[in-house]
Protein backbone atom coordinates (compact mmCIF):
# COMPACT_ATOMS: atom_id res chain seq x y z
CA UNK A 1 0.00 0.00 0.00
CA UNK A 2 1.35 3.47 -0.77
CA UNK A 3 0.00 6.98 -0.71
CA UNK A 4 -1.41 8.42 -3.89
CA UNK A 5 1.12 11.02 -5.12
CA UNK A 6 0.00 14.66 -5.17
CA UNK A 7 -1.35 15.76 -8.55
CA UNK A 8 0.98 18.56 -9.66
CA UNK A 9 -0.27 21.25 -12.07
CA UNK A 10 1.91 21.15 -15.20
CA UNK A 11 2.58 24.92 -15.13
CA UNK A 12 4.04 24.65 -11.63
CA UNK A 13 6.31 21.81 -12.72
CA UNK A 14 7.58 23.83 -15.69
CA UNK A 15 8.55 26.75 -13.42
CA UNK A 16 10.16 24.36 -10.91
CA UNK A 17 12.28 22.78 -13.69
CA UNK A 18 13.30 26.30 -14.78
CA UNK A 19 14.46 26.91 -11.20
CA UNK A 20 16.55 23.74 -11.25
CA UNK A 21 18.07 24.73 -14.60
CA UNK A 22 18.91 28.18 -13.26
CA UNK A 23 20.83 26.64 -10.33
CA UNK A 24 22.50 23.89 -12.38
CA UNK A 25 23.55 26.03 -15.36
CA UNK A 26 26.59 27.75 -13.75
CA UNK A 27 27.85 24.39 -12.45
CA UNK A 28 27.45 22.81 -15.89
CA UNK A 29 29.19 25.82 -17.49
CA UNK A 30 32.09 25.44 -15.08
CA UNK A 31 32.43 21.71 -15.69
CA UNK A 32 32.15 22.14 -19.46
CA UNK A 33 34.94 24.74 -19.63
CA UNK A 34 37.17 23.08 -17.02
CA UNK A 35 40.72 22.41 -18.27
CA UNK A 36 40.59 18.73 -17.34
CA UNK A 37 43.77 17.76 -19.26
CA UNK A 38 45.97 20.39 -17.58
CA UNK A 39 44.29 20.24 -14.16
CA UNK A 40 47.23 18.52 -12.48
CA UNK A 41 49.64 21.14 -13.73
CA UNK A 42 47.35 24.05 -12.79
CA UNK A 43 46.68 22.78 -9.26
CA UNK A 44 50.42 22.20 -8.76
CA UNK A 45 51.32 25.85 -9.33
CA UNK A 46 52.83 27.77 -6.43
CA UNK A 47 50.11 30.44 -6.41
CA UNK A 48 47.39 27.79 -6.31
CA UNK A 49 49.10 25.75 -3.60
CA UNK A 50 49.63 28.91 -1.53
CA UNK A 51 45.94 29.80 -1.86
CA UNK A 52 44.96 26.27 -0.89
CA UNK A 53 47.20 26.37 2.19
CA UNK A 54 45.98 29.81 3.28
CA UNK A 55 42.34 28.88 2.69
CA UNK A 56 42.46 25.62 4.61
CA UNK A 57 44.46 27.13 7.47
CA UNK A 58 42.15 30.14 7.78
CA UNK A 59 38.90 28.17 7.43
CA UNK A 60 40.02 25.43 9.86
CA UNK A 61 41.00 27.99 12.51
CA UNK A 62 37.77 29.90 11.96
CA UNK A 63 35.77 26.66 12.25
CA UNK A 64 37.48 25.82 15.55
CA UNK A 65 36.71 29.29 16.97
CA UNK A 66 33.14 29.03 15.69
CA UNK A 67 32.59 25.81 17.69
CA UNK A 68 34.16 27.23 20.86
CA UNK A 69 32.16 30.48 20.70
CA UNK A 70 29.05 29.21 18.99
CA UNK A 71 28.12 26.23 21.17
CA UNK A 72 27.71 28.17 24.44
CA UNK A 73 26.08 31.02 22.50
CA UNK A 74 23.45 28.76 20.92
CA UNK A 75 22.85 27.07 24.29
CA UNK A 76 22.38 30.42 26.02
CA UNK A 77 19.94 31.65 23.35
CA UNK A 78 17.72 28.60 23.89
CA UNK A 79 18.10 27.64 27.53
CA UNK A 80 18.73 30.89 29.40
CA UNK A 81 16.16 33.62 29.92
CA UNK A 82 18.42 36.50 28.88
CA UNK A 83 17.28 40.11 28.66
CA UNK A 84 16.75 41.50 25.15
CA UNK A 85 16.94 38.00 23.65
CA UNK A 86 15.47 39.17 20.32
CA UNK A 87 18.10 41.87 19.99
CA UNK A 88 20.91 39.44 20.82
CA UNK A 89 19.54 36.93 18.32
CA UNK A 90 19.29 39.61 15.61
CA UNK A 91 22.91 40.51 16.32
CA UNK A 92 23.96 36.88 15.94
CA UNK A 93 22.17 36.52 12.61
CA UNK A 94 23.31 39.92 11.29
CA UNK A 95 26.49 38.70 9.53
CA UNK A 96 24.32 36.35 7.47
CA UNK A 97 22.40 39.20 5.87
CA UNK A 98 25.04 41.91 6.04
CA UNK A 99 26.98 42.43 2.77
CA UNK A 100 30.39 40.88 3.56
CA UNK A 101 32.20 44.07 2.44
CA UNK A 102 30.23 45.97 5.09
CA UNK A 103 31.21 43.31 7.62
CA UNK A 104 34.87 43.76 6.65
CA UNK A 105 34.57 47.54 6.91
CA UNK A 106 32.96 47.20 10.35
CA UNK A 107 35.76 44.87 11.46
CA UNK A 108 38.30 47.41 10.20
CA UNK A 109 36.76 50.17 12.29
CA UNK A 110 36.46 47.92 15.34
CA UNK A 111 39.69 45.92 15.17
CA UNK A 112 41.88 48.07 12.89
CA UNK A 113 44.97 49.73 14.36
CA UNK A 114 42.91 52.83 15.10
CA UNK A 115 39.70 50.92 15.74
CA UNK A 116 37.66 50.80 18.91
CA UNK A 117 39.32 47.64 20.25
CA UNK A 118 42.13 47.38 17.69
CA UNK A 119 44.03 50.35 19.12
CA UNK A 120 43.98 48.71 22.56
CA UNK A 121 45.20 45.40 21.09
CA UNK A 122 47.97 47.28 19.31
CA UNK A 123 48.96 49.40 22.33
CA UNK A 124 48.72 46.77 25.09
CA UNK A 125 49.59 43.51 23.34
CA UNK A 126 51.31 44.67 20.13
CA UNK A 127 48.70 42.69 18.15
CA UNK A 128 47.72 43.89 14.68
CA UNK A 129 44.90 42.09 12.91
CA UNK A 130 44.22 43.89 9.60
CA UNK A 131 46.14 42.53 6.59
CA UNK A 132 47.36 39.47 8.50
CA UNK A 133 46.34 35.82 8.42
CA UNK A 134 44.86 36.28 11.91
CA UNK A 135 42.72 39.05 10.39
CA UNK A 136 41.54 36.66 7.67
CA UNK A 137 40.59 34.19 10.42
CA UNK A 138 38.62 36.92 12.23
CA UNK A 139 36.78 37.85 9.00
CA UNK A 140 35.95 34.21 8.24
CA UNK A 141 34.77 33.60 11.81
CA UNK A 142 32.55 36.69 11.66
CA UNK A 143 30.65 35.50 8.59
CA UNK A 144 30.58 31.78 9.51
CA UNK A 145 29.48 31.95 13.16
CA UNK A 146 25.74 32.52 12.48
CA UNK A 147 25.52 29.39 10.32
CA UNK A 148 26.76 27.26 13.21
CA UNK A 149 24.74 29.01 15.91
CA UNK A 150 21.48 28.77 13.94
CA UNK A 151 21.96 25.06 13.23
CA UNK A 152 22.79 24.18 16.84
CA UNK A 153 20.10 26.50 18.19
CA UNK A 154 17.45 24.79 16.05
CA UNK A 155 18.56 21.36 17.26
CA UNK A 156 18.47 22.47 20.91
CA UNK A 157 14.93 23.78 20.49
CA UNK A 158 13.81 20.55 18.85
CA UNK A 159 15.44 18.44 21.60
CA UNK A 160 13.65 20.30 24.37
CA UNK A 161 14.97 20.29 27.93
CA UNK A 162 13.02 17.36 29.43
CA UNK A 163 16.03 15.03 29.59
CA UNK A 164 18.22 17.81 31.00
CA UNK A 165 15.65 18.41 33.75
CA UNK A 166 15.50 14.68 34.38
CA UNK A 167 19.29 14.55 34.77
CA UNK A 168 19.09 17.47 37.22
CA UNK A 169 16.62 15.64 39.45
CA UNK A 170 19.07 12.72 39.59
CA UNK A 171 21.59 15.03 41.24
CA UNK A 172 23.71 15.95 38.22
CA UNK A 173 25.00 19.54 38.42
CA UNK A 174 24.48 21.76 35.33
CA UNK A 175 27.96 21.21 33.87
CA UNK A 176 27.56 17.43 34.15
CA UNK A 177 24.16 17.67 32.45
CA UNK A 178 25.76 19.67 29.63
CA UNK A 179 28.63 17.18 29.27
CA UNK A 180 26.71 13.91 29.61
CA UNK A 181 23.26 14.71 28.21
CA UNK A 182 23.17 17.87 26.10
CA UNK A 183 26.43 17.68 24.15
CA UNK A 184 26.30 13.98 23.18
CA UNK A 185 22.77 14.44 21.84
CA UNK A 186 23.80 17.64 20.07
CA UNK A 187 26.80 16.15 18.25
CA UNK A 188 25.04 15.49 14.89
CA UNK A 189 23.76 19.08 14.76
CA UNK A 190 27.19 20.37 15.80
CA UNK A 191 28.73 18.38 12.94
CA UNK A 192 26.20 19.77 10.45
CA UNK A 193 26.67 23.33 11.76
CA UNK A 194 30.43 22.96 11.64
CA UNK A 195 30.33 21.76 8.03
CA UNK A 196 28.16 24.70 6.99
CA UNK A 197 30.27 27.22 8.90
CA UNK A 198 33.49 25.79 7.50
CA UNK A 199 32.12 25.94 3.94
CA UNK A 200 31.05 29.54 4.49
CA UNK A 201 34.49 30.39 5.89
CA UNK A 202 36.17 28.70 2.94
CA UNK A 203 34.11 30.69 0.45
CA UNK A 204 34.48 34.02 2.23
CA UNK A 205 35.54 36.90 -0.04
CA UNK A 206 34.21 40.38 0.77
CA UNK A 207 35.02 40.68 4.48
CA UNK A 208 38.43 39.06 3.94
CA UNK A 209 39.58 41.36 1.14
CA UNK A 210 38.34 44.42 3.06
CA UNK A 211 39.80 43.53 6.45
CA UNK A 212 42.73 41.27 5.65
CA UNK A 213 43.64 42.31 2.10
CA UNK A 214 44.82 40.08 -0.74
CA UNK A 215 48.41 39.23 0.17
CA UNK A 216 49.81 36.10 -1.58
CA UNK A 217 50.75 33.37 0.85
CA UNK A 218 49.25 35.27 3.82
CA UNK A 219 45.68 36.35 3.22
CA UNK A 220 44.99 35.36 -0.40
CA UNK A 221 42.46 32.58 0.02
CA UNK A 222 40.98 30.39 -2.76
CA UNK A 223 38.14 32.81 -3.62
CA UNK A 224 40.55 35.76 -3.74
CA UNK A 225 43.02 33.78 -5.86
CA UNK A 226 40.17 32.76 -8.18
CA UNK A 227 39.11 36.39 -8.61
CA UNK A 228 42.72 37.44 -9.19
CA UNK A 229 43.32 34.65 -11.73
CA UNK A 230 40.15 35.45 -13.66
CA UNK A 231 41.84 38.55 -15.12
CA UNK A 232 45.23 37.06 -15.94
CA UNK A 233 44.86 33.26 -16.08
CA UNK A 234 41.26 32.07 -16.66
CA UNK A 235 42.29 28.40 -16.75
CA UNK A 236 43.78 28.68 -13.26
CA UNK A 237 40.57 30.43 -12.15
CA UNK A 238 38.56 27.49 -13.50
CA UNK A 239 40.80 24.98 -11.68
CA UNK A 240 40.44 26.87 -8.39
CA UNK A 241 36.68 27.06 -8.88
CA UNK A 242 36.59 23.30 -9.34
CA UNK A 243 38.38 22.85 -6.03
CA UNK A 244 35.83 25.07 -4.28
CA UNK A 245 32.96 23.25 -6.00
CA UNK A 246 34.33 19.86 -4.94
CA UNK A 247 34.75 21.04 -1.35
CA UNK A 248 31.18 22.39 -1.30
CA UNK A 249 29.84 19.02 -2.46
CA UNK A 250 31.87 17.18 0.18
CA UNK A 251 30.50 19.54 2.84
CA UNK A 252 26.94 18.71 1.77
CA UNK A 253 27.50 15.04 2.65
CA UNK A 254 27.46 15.30 6.48
CA UNK A 255 24.54 17.71 6.25
CA UNK A 256 22.59 15.60 3.77
CA UNK A 257 19.88 14.64 6.25
CA UNK A 258 19.23 18.32 6.86
CA UNK A 259 19.55 19.64 3.33
CA UNK A 260 19.20 16.56 1.12
CA UNK A 261 16.25 14.55 2.47
CA UNK A 262 15.72 11.25 0.70
CA UNK A 263 12.06 12.13 0.05
Amino acid sequence: MSRTPTQAPRSVLVVAVLGIAFLALPVVGLLQRAPWSSLDDLLGRRTVLDALRVSFTVSAMAAAIVVVLGTPLAWMLVRVDIPMRRLVRALVVLPMVLPPVVGGTALLFALGRRGLVGQLLDRWFDITLPFTMAGAVVAATFVALPFYVMTVEGALRTMGDDLEQMAGTLGAPPLTVLRRITLPRLLPAMGAGLALAWARALGEFGATITFAGNLPGRTRTLPLATFQALESDPEAALALSLVLLAVSLVVLLPTRDRWLPTR
Binding site: D162, M166, A167, T169, A172, R180, R185
Partner: protein, 195 residues
Protein backbone atom coordinates in the same frame (compact mmCIF):
# COMPACT_ATOMS: atom_id res chain seq x y z
CA UNK B 1 -1.79 24.56 44.60
CA UNK B 2 -2.78 24.93 48.25
CA UNK B 3 -2.09 22.05 50.64
CA UNK B 4 -0.35 20.95 53.80
CA UNK B 5 1.26 17.58 53.25
CA UNK B 6 3.91 15.72 55.18
CA UNK B 7 5.38 12.35 54.21
CA UNK B 8 7.49 10.34 56.67
CA UNK B 9 10.57 8.24 55.75
CA UNK B 10 9.45 4.80 54.57
CA UNK B 11 5.86 5.92 54.10
CA UNK B 12 4.10 5.50 50.76
CA UNK B 13 1.40 8.06 50.06
CA UNK B 14 -0.81 7.50 47.04
CA UNK B 15 -2.07 10.64 45.30
CA UNK B 16 -5.29 10.23 43.37
CA UNK B 17 -7.63 12.66 41.67
CA UNK B 18 -9.13 13.61 38.32
CA UNK B 19 -7.08 14.90 35.38
CA UNK B 20 -5.95 18.47 36.02
CA UNK B 21 -6.18 18.06 39.82
CA UNK B 22 -2.52 19.04 40.19
CA UNK B 23 -0.99 15.60 40.83
CA UNK B 24 1.87 15.94 38.34
CA UNK B 25 2.39 19.59 39.30
CA UNK B 26 2.82 18.48 42.92
CA UNK B 27 5.57 16.06 41.88
CA UNK B 28 7.26 18.69 39.68
CA UNK B 29 7.22 21.17 42.57
CA UNK B 30 8.87 18.63 44.85
CA UNK B 31 11.44 17.73 42.18
CA UNK B 32 12.34 21.41 41.82
CA UNK B 33 11.06 21.74 38.25
CA UNK B 34 8.40 24.32 39.18
CA UNK B 35 8.50 27.20 41.66
CA UNK B 36 5.90 27.85 44.37
CA UNK B 37 3.53 30.81 43.95
CA UNK B 38 3.06 30.94 47.70
CA UNK B 39 3.89 28.85 50.73
CA UNK B 40 6.83 26.79 51.81
CA UNK B 41 8.34 23.47 50.77
CA UNK B 42 10.63 21.46 53.04
CA UNK B 43 12.57 18.26 52.34
CA UNK B 44 14.44 16.51 55.16
CA UNK B 45 13.58 19.49 57.36
CA UNK B 46 15.34 21.86 54.97
CA UNK B 47 13.41 24.62 53.20
CA UNK B 48 13.95 24.01 49.48
CA UNK B 49 11.45 26.54 48.17
CA UNK B 50 9.93 29.59 49.79
CA UNK B 51 7.66 31.80 47.69
CA UNK B 52 8.84 34.89 49.62
CA UNK B 53 12.47 34.19 48.69
CA UNK B 54 13.66 34.50 45.06
CA UNK B 55 16.31 31.83 45.66
CA UNK B 56 15.52 28.13 45.95
CA UNK B 57 17.35 24.83 46.22
CA UNK B 58 17.96 23.60 42.66
CA UNK B 59 16.69 20.15 41.71
CA UNK B 60 20.21 18.66 41.60
CA UNK B 61 20.73 19.63 45.25
CA UNK B 62 17.50 17.95 46.43
CA UNK B 63 17.56 14.32 47.43
CA UNK B 64 14.71 13.32 45.16
CA UNK B 65 14.14 10.47 42.72
CA UNK B 66 11.60 11.19 40.00
CA UNK B 67 9.89 8.73 37.67
CA UNK B 68 7.82 10.76 35.21
CA UNK B 69 4.97 9.29 33.22
CA UNK B 70 6.99 9.29 29.99
CA UNK B 71 10.07 7.86 31.78
CA UNK B 72 12.56 10.17 30.06
CA UNK B 73 15.32 7.59 29.77
CA UNK B 74 18.55 8.88 28.24
CA UNK B 75 18.45 7.44 24.70
CA UNK B 76 22.20 7.65 24.06
CA UNK B 77 23.12 5.71 27.25
CA UNK B 78 22.83 1.99 27.96
CA UNK B 79 20.40 0.62 30.54
CA UNK B 80 23.29 0.24 33.05
CA UNK B 81 24.51 3.81 32.38
CA UNK B 82 20.96 5.11 32.81
CA UNK B 83 20.59 3.36 36.16
CA UNK B 84 24.05 4.52 37.28
CA UNK B 85 23.61 8.10 36.09
CA UNK B 86 23.07 9.71 39.50
CA UNK B 87 26.34 10.93 41.07
CA UNK B 88 25.11 9.27 44.30
CA UNK B 89 24.74 5.84 42.67
CA UNK B 90 27.35 3.32 43.84
CA UNK B 91 28.28 0.29 41.65
CA UNK B 92 26.90 -2.07 44.33
CA UNK B 93 23.61 -0.22 44.48
CA UNK B 94 23.30 -0.19 40.67
CA UNK B 95 24.10 -3.90 40.50
CA UNK B 96 21.55 -4.67 43.21
CA UNK B 97 18.82 -2.70 41.41
CA UNK B 98 19.62 -4.29 38.02
CA UNK B 99 19.31 -7.72 39.66
CA UNK B 100 16.17 -6.96 41.68
CA UNK B 101 14.34 -5.53 38.69
CA UNK B 102 15.56 -8.26 36.33
CA UNK B 103 17.52 -5.84 34.16
CA UNK B 104 20.95 -7.53 34.18
CA UNK B 105 20.38 -9.35 30.90
CA UNK B 106 19.60 -6.09 29.10
CA UNK B 107 22.18 -3.90 30.89
CA UNK B 108 24.03 -3.12 27.64
CA UNK B 109 20.93 -2.33 25.60
CA UNK B 110 19.82 1.17 24.66
CA UNK B 111 16.37 2.26 25.92
CA UNK B 112 15.01 2.12 22.36
CA UNK B 113 15.67 -1.64 22.43
CA UNK B 114 13.68 -2.20 25.64
CA UNK B 115 10.02 -3.15 25.97
CA UNK B 116 7.63 -0.80 27.78
CA UNK B 117 7.84 -2.84 30.99
CA UNK B 118 11.64 -3.00 30.87
CA UNK B 119 11.89 0.75 30.24
CA UNK B 120 9.64 1.46 33.20
CA UNK B 121 11.78 -0.73 35.46
CA UNK B 122 14.89 1.10 34.25
CA UNK B 123 13.25 4.42 35.13
CA UNK B 124 12.39 3.20 38.64
CA UNK B 125 15.88 1.74 39.16
CA UNK B 126 17.49 4.98 37.99
CA UNK B 127 15.39 7.05 40.40
CA UNK B 128 16.33 4.78 43.32
CA UNK B 129 20.04 4.37 42.49
CA UNK B 130 21.08 7.62 44.16
CA UNK B 131 19.28 6.55 47.41
CA UNK B 132 16.98 9.60 47.47
CA UNK B 133 15.08 10.70 50.58
CA UNK B 134 11.92 11.18 48.54
CA UNK B 135 10.71 9.07 45.62
CA UNK B 136 8.19 10.57 43.20
CA UNK B 137 6.33 8.12 40.99
CA UNK B 138 3.96 9.36 38.30
CA UNK B 139 1.72 6.50 37.16
CA UNK B 140 4.53 3.93 37.42
CA UNK B 141 2.36 0.91 36.56
CA UNK B 142 0.48 2.27 33.56
CA UNK B 143 0.51 -0.27 30.73
CA UNK B 144 2.78 -2.65 32.63
CA UNK B 145 2.51 -6.41 32.49
CA UNK B 146 1.79 -8.23 35.76
CA UNK B 147 5.40 -9.39 36.26
CA UNK B 148 6.88 -5.91 35.85
CA UNK B 149 4.23 -4.48 38.16
CA UNK B 150 5.03 -7.13 40.81
CA UNK B 151 8.76 -6.41 40.64
CA UNK B 152 8.27 -2.65 41.01
CA UNK B 153 5.79 -3.07 43.85
CA UNK B 154 8.17 -5.53 45.53
CA UNK B 155 10.96 -2.95 45.39
CA UNK B 156 8.68 -0.27 46.82
CA UNK B 157 7.87 -2.60 49.69
CA UNK B 158 11.55 -3.08 50.63
CA UNK B 159 12.68 -2.10 54.12
CA UNK B 160 15.06 0.64 52.92
CA UNK B 161 12.41 2.43 50.87
CA UNK B 162 12.40 6.23 50.92
CA UNK B 163 9.38 8.42 51.58
CA UNK B 164 7.30 7.90 48.46
CA UNK B 165 4.60 9.86 46.66
CA UNK B 166 2.78 7.66 44.17
CA UNK B 167 0.48 9.31 41.65
CA UNK B 168 -1.93 6.73 40.29
CA UNK B 169 -5.29 6.32 38.61
CA UNK B 170 -5.49 2.75 39.83
CA UNK B 171 -7.36 2.32 43.17
CA UNK B 172 -6.16 -1.29 43.40
CA UNK B 173 -2.53 -0.17 43.14
CA UNK B 174 -3.12 2.57 45.72
CA UNK B 175 -4.76 0.13 48.13
CA UNK B 176 -2.13 -2.55 47.48
CA UNK B 177 1.06 -0.68 48.35
CA UNK B 178 0.21 2.71 49.90
CA UNK B 179 0.06 3.50 53.63
CA UNK B 180 -2.15 6.53 52.99
CA UNK B 181 -4.22 7.92 50.15
CA UNK B 182 -4.84 11.61 49.48
CA UNK B 183 -7.27 12.82 46.89
CA UNK B 184 -6.52 16.05 45.06
CA UNK B 185 -8.89 18.32 43.21
CA UNK B 186 -8.04 21.74 41.76
CA UNK B 187 -4.72 21.79 43.62
CA UNK B 188 -6.20 21.02 47.08
CA UNK B 189 -6.44 17.90 49.21
CA UNK B 190 -10.13 17.10 49.30
CA UNK B 191 -9.91 13.74 51.11
CA UNK B 192 -7.29 11.76 53.00
CA UNK B 193 -7.43 8.27 54.44
CA UNK B 194 -5.07 5.80 56.08
CA UNK B 195 -5.04 2.23 54.72
Amino acid sequence: MDMALSVQPGEIVAVVGPNGAGKTTLLRLLAGLERLDHGLLQLDGLTVDDATDPGHVASHDRSVGWVPQDRLLFPHLSVAANVGFSPGATPNRVDHLLATLDLRSIADRRPSECSGGQAQRVAVARALAGSPSLLLLDEPSTALDAASRRRIHGLLGADDRPATLLVTHDPVEAAGIADRVIQLDAGRIVAASAL
